[in-house]
């Protein structure tokens, strides 16, 4: 069974620019990881990227429109050699930043089979979605995505597979989470 779980809206990359701060605890995970990947797309880079995305395919055209409304997109992922090299509690300080009233969790999926968990949080301001955070944890991998700017969570799956964002299938839920 797959434990899809955490998708959190987190702002990564240049620490000063991100809305959600990577904590020192999370930084320490880098020392244990076999590979750490940071994808940084600030407003300038997003603007540049959108010029090169094609209008010809429907998928890319959608991504291009989506990107136009964003102010920043940051992805950080850690890959570990074996399971158990990081604890769920390592992410507590990260989740603590994603709390009400600004943030609310809209998706939480756990898969007991694969140990994958995903959570998606949205940030609202003046009734509008102004950011999104995704946290995906797997036994040997941890991915944090932070998107700043206007985005409809339903469109999130269109961004998945681009810019280093994992492919995400969102099924909205009203409760706190769901086991698979």
């Amino acid at each position: 069974m797959i434990r899809i779980a955490f998708i959190v809206w987190i702002a990564l990359a240049p620490l000063g620019a991100q809305e959600i701060k990577l904590t020192a605890k999370l930084d320490r995970l880098a020392a244990k990881a076999t590979e750490v990947v940071d994808v940084t797309m600030d407003a300038n880079l997003l603007q540049l990227a959108s010029r090169f995305l094609s209008d010809k395919s429907a998928d890319e055209s959608n991504v291009k429109k989506l990107v136009a409304g964003l102010k920043g997109l940051y992805v950080k992922s850690f890959e570990f050699e074996k399971p158990g090299e990081y604890q769920d509690s390592d992410l507590d300080s990260l989740r603590a930043q994603l709390h009400a009233p600004a943030w609310s969790r809209i998706v939480g999926v756990r898969s007991r089979k694969s140990g994958e968990n995903s959570e998606v949080y949205v940030k609202t301001e003046g009734g509008k979605i102004d950011g999104l955070a995704i946290l995906v944890t797997e036994p040997k991998e941890l991915t944090i995505v932070s998107i700043e700017g206007s985005i409809d969570p339903d469109q999130l799956s269109q961004l998945g597979g681009n810019f280093g964002i994992p492919k995400i299938e969102i099924r909205k839920e009203s409760g706190h989470g769901k086991d698979e």
Partner: protein
């Protein structure tokens, strides 16, 4: 073909190659600044790569992987410590502030940093790899399709580029 004609052909090819190489050399002042900045930072000179102009001649014709132009510099005998990648990044950014950080892949003992910048209607990437005292800096001018591949899979592209870079 007579001997004279053969000699003429060889001569023409040689002249075209020399002119192309000279033109390509002249068209990369920004990259030269960048190489100079790294040389100054680490007090070392880049390795000489013989006939590298031919690579660009081939690139100009064939556009392998959507690459329209390539500049490459290899540095050896850099300090093998954790600070080297930071010093390399600082040197790159100081040489050209237009470079925007795009991807960083940090593995055990090696780091790949990718920067992106616009040049006219084109997109340029700067891929800097540092590992065990060696640094490779590659500047690529890409066609839109190649840019799209990088945007779709930045991590894979960086690592793929790094693997290919080892063959340079």
């Amino acid at each position: 073909m007579g001997k004279t004609n053969k000699m003429k052909s060889v001569l023409i090819i040689a002249i075209v190659w020399m002119l192309s190489s000279a033109a390509l050399e002249a068209a990369q002042p920004e990259f030269d600044d960048l190489v100079r900045a790294i040389s100054d930072e680490f007090h070392t000179r880049p390795m000489h790569i013989p006939f590298f102009g031919l690579v660009n001649l081939a690139t100009f014709v064939a556009r392998p992987g959507g690459v329209k132009h390539i500049n490459l510099a290899l540095f050896e005998n850099l300090p093998a410590d954790d600070r080297s990648i930071r010093r390399l990044s600082d040197a790159l950014r100081s040489a050209n502030r237009n470079w925007r950080p795009f991807v960083q892949v940090q593995g055990k003992g090696e780091t790949v940093e990718v920067y992106m910048a616009q040049e006219g209607n084109d997109c340029k990437l700067l891929v800097a790899t540092i590992e065990t005292g060696e640094a490779t800096v590659v500047e690529l001018k890409l066609n839109p399709k190649a840019v799209q591949v990088w945007l779709r899979e930045p991590e894979k592209s960086a690592l793929h580029h790094h693997d290919r870079g080892e063959a340079y």
